[in-house]
Amino acid sequence: MRALALTKTRALLVLAVASAGLAVTSSTASAAPVAIDLCASNGQITMPDTTVVNVWGFVQTASCGPDLVNDSNFPGAPLSVDAGDVVTINVTNALPPDPAPPGDPPDHTIRFEIPGIAFDPGPTDAAVGAMVTRTFTASAPGTYQFQSAGDAGRQEAMGLYGALIVRPATANQAYDPASTAYNVEVTLLLSEIDPNFNAAPDTFDLHGYLATYWLINGKAYPQTAGITAAAGQRVLLRYVNAGFDNTTMLLLGMHENVVARDARLLNNPFDANAETIPAGGTEDAIATVPATAPPSPNGFPLYNRQMHVTNGNAPTPAAPNPAYSPGGMLTFIHP
């Protein structure tokens, strides 16, 4: 049923997710075996100010190899499975050669994990050139983050992260209760980059880490994708904070109803318009688009309230400089 494991581009993946979602509505969410191939590879992405940054990332492909990561597949669309699926993830490590013996820092061994998911017993690591298979039953719907915990966080800072969505039995709902129904779904994978670290991930002194690019789904404004939703539609915002910073996202012109944190429904959902997502945490919030005009021609702004809305070493000159600002974690909800 699932073609996810073989998709290579985001466009294809989106189609696959859509078709999978349609298929769910006419099938029972019984335990189906799902296999996903992830390739930990390296590559480069380009920031809005044309700075090229070295990154590592998980690419969904069975044909794993080095230098596969690029602007079109970083950080990759969310993995999507149904509650009850028995999921097998094959993680192949095509990172650059380990500069030290495996286990000694710096260490390019992949340690694949999904906080909130209990894997079946088995090996956890994949050294460079090797593959590890991790299996689990997707027992609880929700929004999860997968990552590599290798090399004391350096691998995650390089980009080895992604989102996993476990879907409930009913289509177009985030969770089993009907109160989590939505019309439009968007995953907001939040992260940041210090290009100086990315240029030397094995040797950089992390005391001097200073992020200068602030990303939603691997992109900084104005490269971020807009969120298309019409008036009255319920937009499910799946926040996944893969960064190191507790991140506050401000939604202007509407409140969002926070229904879940860390893939668990809240006993007391609440309305927020400046919501802080802890580093490593996920949140699901549903916002209903007002029928009235947004505050700007661009739509309803959704942006980082810690004002990480600049790109690069943005000097603050006497007047705004479009080369640096606006940028960062900023997007809009618009028709």
């Binding site: 200068t212 012109g253 509407m254 609440f270 400046a274 600002s325």
Partner: protein, 664 residues
């Protein structure tokens, strides 16, 4: 370098002080604004439209370490402020359903704007030009007008929507309060959000990296990613400036204080305080109230399932509403519920800088002795608890603590400040037993006063109407009064103040009789006053409480009951403006003013304690001594038994005499 900075800071402070003299400057608060608590900028209300005129401009703030920081902010363009710079921006208070109009004039050198996070009704703009997030006013005196219907009640920020990584950090933010239709004493349309409107507090947080502000001031460059905050403010001030009054002349551009002041919750003080907390800063702040949990009731202007906290982080851009009540669960007091352990010896206690908020007594409402040379900021035994960011680097001013994002919770004694008599003076009578300290507590210890007595210097005939006594001391110097010799009551109608009295015989149901030389002449009244010291100028809402009784005996330690013909008690207070201290020097001096009802006076007081509390009208200044009598309050208790049949001498027993007041 440090010295140079300090000197520059001082010059800035002096300049700001000079600006104070300008008549247009009104400390950015409306006339009559309270010294403590949230103050709204009035704006203009016309029908259902509420209009505010703001100007975005530049100015300087002072920090407690002597520095000054260049800021951008919104100011109130209307009088009396007329655009006087203030940080943070004016507090805009509107009522749900009103049409809110905010007219912005931009005096900054780059385009600016206002966004209203949490307002879900459309914000329409007139004038200006479309910007990234909202419509902007052009640089250098461009204008834009925003209008929206005030939506759900709650606490909201308003802030710049232009070049935000610079402009918000520079200070372009303020508080917007939407009040519910239920009334200004409700935070939301929910009965559970009722609060005491005289105890509504604002806590708006922000941080400052002076390097960015210096770069903006001097036209330099600055990397916002390298933000390193040095100052952490509540309502635009850093501790200890946060506990200064609203509109303090020391802080002409930072009008909003952050002292939180409450009284213990009780039947007469049932409503909690409301703290509206807003984080205009870029960091989250783990805010930590000492003393009591705070009850979080809303977030981002929306009610939540309430939770109680002694530590709660507020995220960047977030607003939280808290109800705060303080319960005296232990009710420690020195008389009947003392601490089970002795307080630490002062030799083991260090008072930093010889300055303290401690009263010298650990009991709420009591003051005590402090080591010589230690200055206390305490007024009347109130308690102070810190409220502060528990990110302790933020509890500093440029890394020196304490400072920064901290303020104090002041818990006043129940009903206000409590004063116990420092002295008790008998102006008509003699001491039977006890001392002034017996009046400090409601207990079984009494201050006891007998009527004055003297003796006849010769025998008295049945018809004699002029009698000579050994001494007139303690008897009234004017007015008719009664005395008793043996079984006869006489009225003294002349010669008061001398030893030769003109008397009317056989008064109040007694018969004229002859009396031996040396017979005891006893007054049928007692007069004494309690003196209170240290009441601060500006005290308001003064209340006097007296609890006491009268006993039939003038000797012995027990109280002999009075079943009938009860003594009449009148309690008076000294009005120092009538004749100064001499106006309240004797029992019949002109300065004594009978305390006005309720309860009405005189009162019949027998051998059962009677408790009465009188409230004085404001202003209370007339009842506070000045000059040599500075801080003194005097309360006179006059008790007489001048009614038939055949009144006998009695003793007056004072149990409790106290004053309570709201200290300034």
């Amino acid at each position: 370098m440090t010295q140079r900075i300090r000197r520059l800071g001082m010059v800035g402070a002096l300049a700001a002080g000079a600006a104070l003299l300008a008549p247009a400057q009104a400390g950015a608060l409306p006339p009559g604004a309270p010294k403590i608590g949230m103050v709204c900028t009035p704006g203009t209300v016309s029908g259902s439209e509420h209009t505010f005129n703001l100007v975005a401009n530049t100015g300087y703030i002072s920090t407690p370490d002597g520095n000054t920081v260049f800021m951008w902010s919104y100011a109130n363009a209307d009088g009396p402020d007329n655009g006087h710079f203030q940080s943070p921006g004016p507090v805009l208070c509107v009522t749900q359903g009103q049409t809110v109009v905010v007219n912005l004039t931009n005096a900054l050198p780059e385009p600016t704007s206002i966004v209203f996070p949490g307002q879900d009704a459309p914000v329409t703009a007139a004038g200006g030009a479309a910007g990234l997030l909202t419509t902007e006013a052009a640089a250098t005196n461009g204008t834009v007008s925003y209008s929206f219907t005030a939506g759900s009640p709650g606490t909201y920020l308003y802030e710049s929507g232009s070049n935000i990584s610079k402009q918000v950090e520079m200070g372009l933010y303020g508080a917007l309060v939407v009040r519910p239709a239920a009334g200004a004493n409700f935070a939301y349309d929910s009965a559970a959000t009722q609060f005491d409107p005289s105890r509504e507090f604002l806590m708006l947080f922000n941080e400052i990296d002076p390097d960015l502000h210096h770069a903006v001031e001097t036209g330099g460059t600055y990397d916002v990613n390298a933000l390193h905050n040095r100052y952490f403010a509540i309502n635009g001030r850093e501790f200890p400036d946060t506990v200064q009054d609203n509109s303090s002349v020391l802080l002409p551009n930072q009008p909003y204080g952050a002292l939180v002041r409450i009284q213990p919750n009780s039947a007469s003080n049932p409503q909690p305080a409301l703290i509206r907390m807003l984080n205009a800063g870029l960091l989250n702040h783990p805010f930590h109230p000492h003393g009591n949990h705070t009850k979080e009731i809303a977030q981002d202007g929306r009610l939540i399932a309430p939770t109680e906290h002694f530590g709660e982080s507020i995220g960047s851009g977030q607003t939280l509403d808290f109800l705060l009540r303080w319960d005296d669960v232990d009710s420690w007091n020195p008389a009947n519920n003392p601490f089970p352990v002795a307080p630490p010896n002062y030799r083991n206690v260090f008072f930093k800088d010889g300055n303290t908020y401690y009263s010298g007594s650990p009991y709420l409402g009591y003051t005590g002795t402090l080591p010589t040379g230690t200055v206390t900021q305490n007024v009347c035994g109130e308690w102070y608890f810190p409220l502060h960011s528990h990110a302790l680097n933020e509890f500093t001013n440029f890394d020196e603590g304490f400072g920064g994002m901290g303020t104090l919770l002041r818990v006043d004694p129940p009903g206000g400040c409590f004063g116990a008599p420092a002295s008790a003076v008998i102006v008509g009578g003699s001491l039977k037993g006890g001392s002034a300290s017996a009046l400090a507590l409601d207990d079984n210890v009494y201050y006891q006063v007998n009527p004055r007595t003297t003796t006849r210097t010769s025998a008295t005939t049945v018809a004699q109407t002029s009698i000579t006594v050994a001494s007139a001391a303690g008897f009234p110097a004017s007015g008719t009064y009664y005395v008793r010799i043996d079984n006869e009551v006489m009225a003294v109608t002349g010669g008061q103040g001398t030893t030769t009295w003109t008397v009317s015989r056989a008064q109040l149901g007694t018969a004229a009789a002859s009396h031996l030389s040396g017979a005891v002449v006893s007054g049928l009244a007692t007069d004494w006053y309690a003196g209170f010291a240290g009441v601060p100028a500006g005290a308001q809402n003064l209340k006097v409480t007296y609890k006491g009784r009268n006993c039939a005996n003038t000797t012995g330690t027990s109280c002999t009951a009075i079943a009938s013909n009860l003594p009449q008690q009148t309690v008076k207070i000294c009005n120092w403006t009538i004749a100064g201290a001499t106006g309240c020097s004797t029992a019949t001096s002109a300065g004594w003013v009978t305390l006005a009802p309720p309860p009405a006076q005189p009162q019949s007081v027998g051998s059962t304690d009677v408790t009465s509390t009188w409230t004085l009208p404001n202003p209370a200044t007339a009842y506070l001594g000045t000059g040599a009598n500075g801080g003194q309050v005097r309360v006179l208790v006059h008790t007489q038994r001048w009614t038939a049949p055949s009144p006998t001498p009695f003793s007056t027993w004072g149990n409790l005499m106290k004053i309570v007041y709201d200290a300034p």
